[in-house]
Symmetry: C3
Subunit: 341 residues, 3 copies
Amino acid sequence: MSDARFFRRSGPFPLAEVAAAVGGTLADGMDGERLIEDVAPLDGAGANDLSFLDNRKYIGAYEASKAGFCLVIQEFAERAPAGMAAVVCEAPYLAFALAARMFYPPAAPAPWISPDARIADSAVLGEGCRVEAFVVIGPGASIGARCHIESGASLGEGIVLGDDCRVGAGATLLCCLLGSRVSVDPGARVGTQGFGFAVGPRGPVRIPHTGRVVIEDDVEIGANTTIDRGTTGDTFIGRGTMIDNQVQIAHNVQIGRGCILAGQAGLAGSSQMGDYAMIGGKSGLANHVKLGKGARVGAQSGVADDLAEGGTYLGAPAIPIKDFWRQQVALRRLVRRGKGA
Amino acid sequence: MSDARFFRRSGPFPLAEVAAAVGGTLADGMDGERLIEDVAPLDGAGANDLSFLDNRKYIGAYEASKAGFCLVIQEFAERAPAGMAAVVCEAPYLAFALAARMFYPPAAPAPWISPDARIADSAVLGEGCRVEAFVVIGPGASIGARCHIESGASLGEGIVLGDDCRVGAGATLLCCLLGSRVSVDPGARVGTQGFGFAVGPRGPVRIPHTGRVVIEDDVEIGANTTIDRGTTGDTFIGRGTMIDNQVQIAHNVQIGRGCILAGQAGLAGSSQMGDYAMIGGKSGLANHVKLGKGARVGAQSGVADDLAEGGTYLGAPAIPIKDFWRQQVALRRLVRRGKGA
Amino acid sequence: MSDARFFRRSGPFPLAEVAAAVGGTLADGMDGERLIEDVAPLDGAGANDLSFLDNRKYIGAYEASKAGFCLVIQEFAERAPAGMAAVVCEAPYLAFALAARMFYPPAAPAPWISPDARIADSAVLGEGCRVEAFVVIGPGASIGARCHIESGASLGEGIVLGDDCRVGAGATLLCCLLGSRVSVDPGARVGTQGFGFAVGPRGPVRIPHTGRVVIEDDVEIGANTTIDRGTTGDTFIGRGTMIDNQVQIAHNVQIGRGCILAGQAGLAGSSQMGDYAMIGGKSGLANHVKLGKGARVGAQSGVADDLAEGGTYLGAPAIPIKDFWRQQVALRRLVRRGKGA
C-alpha cells in the first residue's frame, strides 16, 4: 500500500477492468467483479493488491506472497498460492506498468506562480504552469502549457520548453530547446559549457561553447545528470530517450530516438548512439565513436571504437559479449593450468 | 592549525587527558601536563599539535615532522624525531578521530528560522531547528528537534526527519522517512523517481514510482549522491551506513547496517548489501544481485552475481581477490611468453 | 550560426585579420578582405563561416562542407571543396579556439546585486560583481572584483574568491580559498566534508574535517563535480587545472598545475597528480597513490600504485599502455587457440 503522505490513489477497479486494460486473461471461475485497491510488490502485497512476477529469481516470494492478484506468464500461473488470482499475460512487467498507471495516473500540476519566483518580464509562460518558490526564469525564455518548474530551478535566458514539461528542484537549464513532455529530475544540469579547450604553448585555451542542447519530446533526464551544450552546433537527444541519474553527456553528442542510458553512464565529446541503442550502468563511449542502431552495451564497458548495429557488447574495451565471456573462461582455465604446472 | 575563518576550536587539553580519552599510553618521562592545542597532519603540525601515523608510506613525513605529539603504533614509537612525544596506541587513526572530536566537537546548530524560508503551514518542526534562507518545506512534513536545513534545500510534502539531522545546501528530499542524526550533504537527491519503465510495442511505458526511501539512524549521505525511491515498496538503508559522494542508489535497493559505499559506487535496481558490507569507489552491483554480509568489493569492480558473506572480491565481473590477482599474473606471463615465441 | 537567443557575436572580421591572429597562412590568390561572420562545425557552416578539420574521421564532412573558410593542416588543404578557403595552420583546433574567442570574447558580467540575494554584513565584495537572486553569502566571506555568482549558489562563512571568478547556479562553496579567474560550473560542491571515519569497536567514528580546499588561479571545475576539504591540511588544486563534470576529488588530494581530469574521474583520499598529468573519463586513483608529472591515464582505468612521470597507462589496474594492448592481443589469441583445440 502506498504511503498516503506521498501519493494519491485512484480506484478501486474491478479485476476484469484491469485485466482488459493490461491485456491479461482471467482463468475460468475467476470473479471479475472483485475489486483491486492498489499495486504492490510480492512481499508487501495484501488480499486487495495486484502484484507481478517477472523474474525467475522471485518465484519463492511469489509462492509465499499474500497478494490477492498477480500478473504472471502462463508457465507460473499454476504455482500461484491459494487465494491469489493469477492473471496470465505475455509481459507481466509491462502489464504491471499499465495497471500502476490506472491507480496512479500522471496528473497535471496545480497551476500556481509563486510570488517568490523571479520571472523576467520578457519570458512567456503557457496556460496552467506551476512555478514554485525561488525559481529564476531568464529574459526571452519560452515555457509551454502546464509545465511544472519545481523550487529553486534556474532557467536561463532564451531557453525553450514545450508543453507538459517538468523541471525538478534545483535543476539548471541553459542554452537549450526542449520538446514536450520532457522530464528533468532534480539537480540535472542541461546546457552547461563543454570541456573543450585546445592545448597551446602557454597551456589550455578555452574554446567558447556557442552551441545548444536540443531535446525532443518525451525524453527523461535523471537526477544530477549533466548535459553539455555543443561547441558549435548542437548536442542532440532524440524522442523518447530515457536517461538515468548521474549520466554525463558531453558537447556535441548525438543520441537517437528511444535510447536507454543507465546510471553513471558517460558519453564523451561528439560520440553517437543510434536509435534504440542501450548502454549499461557506468559504461562509456569514447570521443567520436558511434554505437550502432539497436546495439546494446553491458554495464561498466568502454566503447573505444565504432560498434555495429544490433550487436550486444561487453568489456573495456567493449567486444561482442560472447567473446567477452570466452575470454573470461580462457583466463580462468589459464590460471588453473598455471596452478597445475 | 585549522583556519579560524572556518572552524572554532576547543581546548587546549593536557596530553594526559587526551591520551586517556583516546586509549593512548604515555612513555616514561613524558610530561602529561603539556598542553595540546590542535590536531594537524604530519607535514603541517607544529610543537603544540597532535598528529598521527597510520600508513607506512608516510614514515618519511613522520621522521621529518615538527609535530609536538603523535599517535603511533609501538613499532614506530622509537623512530619519533627529537621533540616529538610519541603516544603509543593500537589504532592511531581511530585514536586521532577521537582526539579530533575533542578539539572540534560536533555542535548543535544555532536555532533560527530564516524569514526567507517557505515552510508549509501544516509542516511541523521540532525544538531548536535551524532553517536557512530559500529552503522550501512542503505540507505535512515532520522535522525533529535540532535539525539544520541549509540554504536552498527542498523538502517535499510529507517527508519525515528524526532529531539532529542535517540537510546540506541545495539538497532535495522527497517521499522519504529519515531517522535521527542522518547527515545529507549538499546536492544529494533522496526519493527521486526510479529509472523504471517497461518496454512496450510503442516504446517505453513509465511505471509510477509509489514507493519510498527509508533511512535509519546515523546514516551519512555524500554530496551529489542520488537515491531513488522504490517502484512499489521501499528503498532501504540501514543504521550507521556511510555513503560517499556521487553514489547512485536505484529503486528498491536494500542496504544493511554499517555498510560503507565509496565515491561513485552504483547499486542497480533491487540489489542488496548485507550488514557491514563494503563497496569500493566506482564499483557497481547489477540488478537484483546480493552482496553477502561483511563482504568487501574492491574499487572499479562489477558485481554480476550474488557474492558470499565475508569474502573479498575484485574485478569486473567481480571474483575472489586472490583469483583476480592470479589472472593478472597469468596474463603478464602469457604476454612474456608470446614475446619470447 | 550561433543562436541569437543565447549568444552575442562580435565581428565580422576580414579573413586576413583572423588568419594573422590564429597563425594561419593564406594561399596565393586568397582574398584577405573577405569577411568571416561566425565560426561553425563542418556540417553546419555556410559561405561566411569559419570551420576546422582536426580529425581524419571527418574528412568526408570536410569534403562535403559548405564552409566558406576552414582551418586545416597542409596535408588536407588540397582536398578542400570548391568555394572553401582552406587556411593552413599547424594546430587547427588551437587556431579555431583562438578564432572563436574573437567572435565570442569572454565578457565581464553586468554588475548587479539582486535584492533577493542574502549577503552577510561582514562579507566583502569587490567592484563590479554580479550576484543573482537567491544567492547566500556567509559572514566574513571575501569576494574579489567582477565575480559572477549565479542564482541559488551558496557561499559559506569565510570563503575567499579572487577576481573574475564565476560560480554557477546552485553551486556550493565551503571552507575554501579560490584564486582569480576560477570557474565553478552549476551544481559543483567545493569544500564538503570528506568521507573520513575510523572504524572502531562500536562502528565508524566520524573524524571532524577541519582542513580546507585551496584552488589556484585559472582552474575550471565542471558541473556537479565534488571536491572535499582536507581532514586536517588542505585539498589542493594547482593553477590552470581543468576539471570536467561529475569528477570526485576526495579529502587531501593534491593536484598539480595544468592537469586535465575528464568526466566522472575520481581521486581517492590523499592521492596526487603531478603537474600536467592527465586522467581519462571514469578513471580513478586509489588512496595515497601518486601519478607522476606529465603522466597520462586512459579512460576507465584504475591507478592502484604510483605511476612514473611521463608515461601513458591504461587498464584496471593501470599498466603501461603497450602492455595493456599486448594483453588484449594475447587474450584474443588464447580464445582462438581454445576454440581450435
